[in-house]
């Protein structure tokens, strides 16, 4: 089933024309309403009238996460405050989060792409969807929520966590679809097995999983544990949230909703555009976004694009599962973590040398984060209680900055391996 037959099966040339029109309109809007972009375009000698087709996209400058930070909180918004109906934010590296805004029409666009995504996974208005993504500043919960309502399904806005309640409502309400992070899905599956719940009590048929990287092996495991078909959804708050692209039943990549989000793949070092099929950094231009229309936003996600027709009948370009990042960002339990956040916490505490290492593991399908911190003979106390208090203080500060729990381990000086004199900040054992 296809939610928007017209768009999702559009002839590719027709799509390029539509994208060109929308791009032209977007450039005009940001030129007139966002001083940051007006100056950037003027510096490059670009006038809004110069951009008349999608072929001109590559003339336009990139936008980075740093640009969002520099313009914190609202300076990149292209509409007056009274048109902004929603704000979301993700945790920041230096205490300042990345803020994104939505107009009423942006919320409608978002609901539309999530409705398309859910339909791709076979969800209809007869379904009961349990939204176990976090609700709040994170876009996962509310994004899925509005899209599912727009589709007409029954939404259980349970948010993340509280596994007992999840399992109870799943049985009592007869949830047919679950949306959450893949690791939480596997965790729920294990809980069902562990509590010996009769599989006939579980009515789930499909799962919509995203916000963190996962493997084919994990997909198999989740499908077996929950007796469902598991679908991959992709998105990032800077572009809109979940629903930028979505996997169809052919499961040969995720279809990008290109009428709203124009994708490009670039060489992350040179910015040069790469052809379909080549691995590079994914860049999006959300052409119909009103509140926060970003020009060529660099996602830092590494992947490939494919334009061949899909078995499902859609003509939309597909992106492969992301194979990594062109920066050092980690996704731990669906939360974005930069090693520099840990560094800034340690520096602020002023007691430890900033030699540290993040060790990420996946135990029983849940990500664990251990932060090893080297003690220094200048600060270390010869009393166990003092050291334990220090450990607690680091733990507390790190948890409040990252927003996820971690384990802090004090280690001996120089015990963290350095390669070529530089400490290796991250050891990720998850094999993603």
């Amino acid at each position: 089933m296809i939610w928007n037959q017209h768009i999702e099966t559009m002839d590719r040339e027709e799509m390029r024309t539509l994208q060109g029109e929308r791009l032209q309109n977007m450039v005009e809007r940001i030129y007139n309403n966002v001083p940051f972009y007006r100056h950037k375009l003027q510096d490059q000698g670009i006038e809004p009238g110069d951009i008349t087709s999608i072929d001109h996209l590559h003339h336009l400058p990139f936008t980075t996460k740093q640009d969002l930070r520099d313009n914190y909180p609202f300076s990149l918004f292209a509409v007056p405050q009274d048109q902004v109906v929603r704000l979301h934010a993700s945790s920041g590296t230096t205490g300042k989060p990345t803020v994104v805004g939505y107009t009423q029409r942006d919320i409608e666009t978002w609901s539309e792409v999530v409705a398309r995504s859910l339909t791709m996974a076979g969800v209809t208005r007869s379904d009961i969807i349990q939204v176990a993504y976090g609700y709040g500043l994170f876009t996962g919960g509310l994004g899925l929520h509005y899209g599912a309502e727009h589709l007409g399904a029954s939404v259980i806005p349970i948010s993340g966590g509280n596994t007992q309640k999840q399992l109870q409502l799943m049985q009592d309400f007869g949830s047919t679809v679950i949306a959450c992070t893949p690791s939480y899905a596997a965790f729920l599956g294990e809980a069902i097995r562990h509590e010996q719940i009769d599989p006939r009590q579980i009515k789930l048929k499909a799962g919509i999983f995203g916000a963190e990287p996962w493997t084919e092996e994990m997909r198999q495991e989740i499908q077996e544990l929950l007796g469902i078909k598991a679908f991959d959804i992709y998105g990032l708050s800077e572009i809109i949230g979940p629903g930028v692209s979505m996997e169809c039943p052919a499961q040969q990549g995720m279809h990008i909703f290109e009428d709203h989000f124009i994708p490009e793949i670039i060489n992350p070092d040179t910015g040069e555009i790469l052809p379909y099929g080549q691995l590079g950094e994914l860049v999006f231009t959300p052409v119909s976004k009103e509140a926060l229309p970003l020009l060529r936003y660099r996602t830092r996600d590494l992947t490939r694009l494919h334009a061949e027709p899909c078995d499902c009948g859609r003509t939309l370009v597909r992106m492969e599962k992301c194979v990594g990042r062109s920066d050092d960002m980690l996704i731990i339990r669906g939360v974005n973590v930069f090693p520099s956040q840990v560094e800034s916490v340690l520096l602020e505490m002023n007691e430890t040398t900033p030699h540290y290492q993040l060790i990420v593991n996946r135990e029983h399908n849940l990500d664990t984060l251990e932060i090893q911190v080297e003690v220094h003979d200048q600060f270390f106390s010869d009393e166990i209680a003092d050291l334990e208090a220090l450990q607690q203080r680091i733990l507390h500060n790190i948890q409040s900055t990252l927003g996820i729990s971690a384990r802090v381990k004090l280690v001996e000086p120089r015990s963290i391996e350095r390669s070529a004199g530089k400490a290796q900040r991250v050891i990720d054992n998850r094999n993603l």
Binding site: D377, F380, I384, K409, V411, E412
Partner: protein
């Protein structure tokens, strides 16, 4: 006389203690007394050596976290009540003990005592004619 005790931070890993004793042996430094305090992840090795100054320098050179702490090293008779009397004295003067450890040889025992006020502790014990280990 105050003694500079060496405190070394150690992870709970096989072979770590041997690394420390190896460095000391190599530099011909004798360990007079030591104790280990530990938590789940790490331990603190506290010791008094024949040459604390050199020992500290050598350990630090090897990248080991080491610190010196003032402790009072009291000499008491190796006989019943030998430890009780000085402890009673400290207790009656409200001097708290953070930690202590001891070893006995022949007729005497040496007790290393760490209190929040090492100088006052030393003065008090001196007033009562106790003997101390000299560095």
């Amino acid at each position: 006389m105050m003694i500079k005790q060496l405190s070394v931070f150690l992870e709970n890993k096989t072979g770590r203690l041997t690394d420390i004793t190896g460095i000391l042996a190599e530099h011909n430094i004798n360990i007079s007394a030591f104790s280990i305090a530990d938590s789940a992840d790490f331990g603190i090795l506290r010791m008094i050596t024949s040459d604390n100054h050199t020992a500290e320098r050598m350990l630090r050179e090897q990248g080991i976290a080491v610190q010196t702490t003032d402790v009072v090293c009291l000499i008491v008779p190796h006989a019943p009540g030998g430890l009780h009397k000085p402890l009673q004295l400290l207790s009656s003067h409200n001097i708290q003990i953070d930690y202590m450890y001891a070893y006995a040889t022949g007729t005497h025992a040496i007790v290393a005592i760490r209190t929040p006020t090492p100088q006052d502790t030393l003065t008090l014990l001196k007033e009562h004619n106790y003997q101390f280990l000299e560095e």
